[in-house]
Amino acid sequence: MIRSLIPAALLLTATAAQAQQDSWTAFHGDLASTKFSNARSLTPDSVGRLERAWDYRTGDVSDGSGDLAETVWSATPVYADGTLYLGTPFYRIVALDPATGEERWTYDSASTLEPLTQPALKNRGVAYWNGGDTGPCVRRVFLGTMDAELHAVDAETGQRCADFADGGVLNVNQWNTVNDVFPFSLLQPPLVVGDTLLLGWAGADWEYSVAPPGNLLAIDARSGDLLWEASFIPPEMIDRTGTANTADPELGLVYAPVSSPSPNYWGGARTDPIPIATSVTAVDIASGEVAWTFQHVRHDIWDYDTPSAPTLVDIPRDGQMIPALVQATKQGFLFVLDRRTGEPLFPIEDRPVPASTATGEVTAPTQPFAMTPTPVGNPLELPPVWRLSDVVSLGQCSRDREKYLYQGIFTPPSEQGTLFFPGTAGATNWGGVSVDPDRAILYVNASRIVQLIHLIPRDEYDSEAREGGNEEGYHPQEGAPYGIHLTDWSNWAGMPCWAPPFGTFSAIDLTTGQTLYEVPFGKAQFHGFYGLGDWGSPTLGGPVVTAGGVVFIGASMDSRVRALDAATGRELWSDLVEAPAVSIPAVFTHEGVDYVVFAVGGNSILKPEVSDQAVAYRLPR
């Protein structure tokens, strides 16, 4: 169903209202996922004077050396009605005074601390709902757990809301009725639109051929009742719908970044087109009906699942403001669509891509290439062999380059071994992009990681994988004729075989699609040694841009949080924190003072450091 057009004036009003916020009430700050803050005191001239306001430890951290699995804490703090809320990877909620970092209350879900679907205990924070009434539980904080429970807690007291589901706890797994090989893990907080909670889930990547069908659940925030369930790929399988969503209440649409089908790296059992897989899909908030869908990878066999919530922004064109949506992708393409219809606003080319030689595989003959805006991280060109790494390895990297298959982006996984670029972590990932809605300028961090993937025939997989297992990059894809071995392309010393930069930061003018700048971002770090400035760093996490013209971002390997000049990408300020700040900061104004708060959790994809630190910055009083 294609929705009718809505007058542009209405849309402008809605977007402007979303952008003029001083709070940070959702994972991406607002429903439009702009990651834009109205904080005006934080300017290129002032941020050099930023100081720590407070430093808080949740206590919920594990490096995996004991009984508990490692923690991966990627929460965005939520600031609403004068309190700061954090979700933790031990599935607790902490309410803090935003000015002092003092605890107001804590809530323990008592969830199992077992990594049921993920290799680590993960959490990306909480959601906030304001019912607009008076009385207990009219303002609620929602927390999901790895074992598929959604907890509703009074935002004032930290007590469970008894009128929500079963005494304040909703068992979401009750709707996991098809291929329930793992629970619906709720690692990403729901998106709150009015009185509706929009909820996706996470599963076990790369392990199974058969998985639950991808779906999006709409839950009543007051009662916990299921309002509707949008099944994206019935009866096929999909491994998650759990990244953040975006909504436009004026259009009545929620925009869901839909994942890839299982198994991720071999599609011989799903050769019929699955149009909603690896797509951004608009769903009617009231009914759950699909309004439109845009598939950005056909027959995905690279796990190029849609990694982040799309960002809504109005773009001037021909004297009109067009309500647009920007979907960042792992491929590095930025798809800019009319969010009313899903029609592209810049040309998209269908280009031929290589065919697979794997048993039973039928690759799509073409894939969509969005060349405007310019793809981020230069994804169409395999980085050259890094001479330093090649010399250290006595030519191993050069020999690898000759030995393994690379025929451009979308080179299929192979038994021979395929150089895979951008790798599975993508050029962009769940951090997505931020947009200054007043200037229609987009900011995005991108990684440049080359991986090596082998398809291993089933009869050989068990004996090979027995030596290593998941930690060595083996994943079974049970039910498929191939398991996989997936690692970064590196030499014997663990040095990357591809030349830097390993990560970049870009600004793009969405009016023209032109890149304003793309600069190396952050510092890589190996065994403690920092890379040179122009090497950059792979990143996980996202940026926030302020009305004052500053970008705040953690995300890099070197455990720094940074402020960049939005106009140039130049670093203005940084601070060393306990681990990589693999998260999106919250930027808000509390009692007239602008704050920037980072959750510092670490992630072993970047380096083996974890933390439970939340740290707040403000200008001196």
Binding site: H527, G528, F529, Y530, D558, S559, L576
Partner: protein, 113 residues
């Protein structure tokens, strides 16, 4: 023992302490604590200090002394190089100054008549 001979030793010892702090992080996160790189910097700075200490305080014969000083300078320079890539500026400065002092000290020592 002359004071000019002791100053490089003090600098190298201070560097070793800084390297220990960078490695162990007793006063908080250093960004490199418990890493291989910080361990190598600590090893280099301790080795430089010990070698310089033996050369300065144990009064070995001239040939041995020169060999010990040369090794100490080499260890200090390697530790300084590591410190640069570990972004430990004070450590790098201490090791470079210590190495320079070891090289320069003999030129300022007066031979007794």
């Amino acid at each position: 023992m002359r004071i000019l001979s002791v100053i490089p030793l003090i600098l190298l010892a201070a560097g070793a302490v800084l390297a220990g702090i960078a490695f162990a992080g007793p006063f908080g996160n250093t960004g490199v604590d418990l890493t291989l790189g910080a361990g190598l910097a600590l090893l280099g700075s301790v080795a430089a200090t010990l070698l310089a200490g033996i050369a300065t305080l144990a009064h070995p014969r001239r040939g041995w002394r020169r060999a010990l000083i040369a090794l100490a300078v080499l260890a200090a320079l390697l530790a300084a190089l590591a410190a640069v890539f570990l972004m430990q500026t004070l450590l790098a400065a201490a090791m470079l100054a210590g190495a320079a002092g070891l090289i320069a000290a003999p030129f300022f020592e007066r031979t007794p008549r």
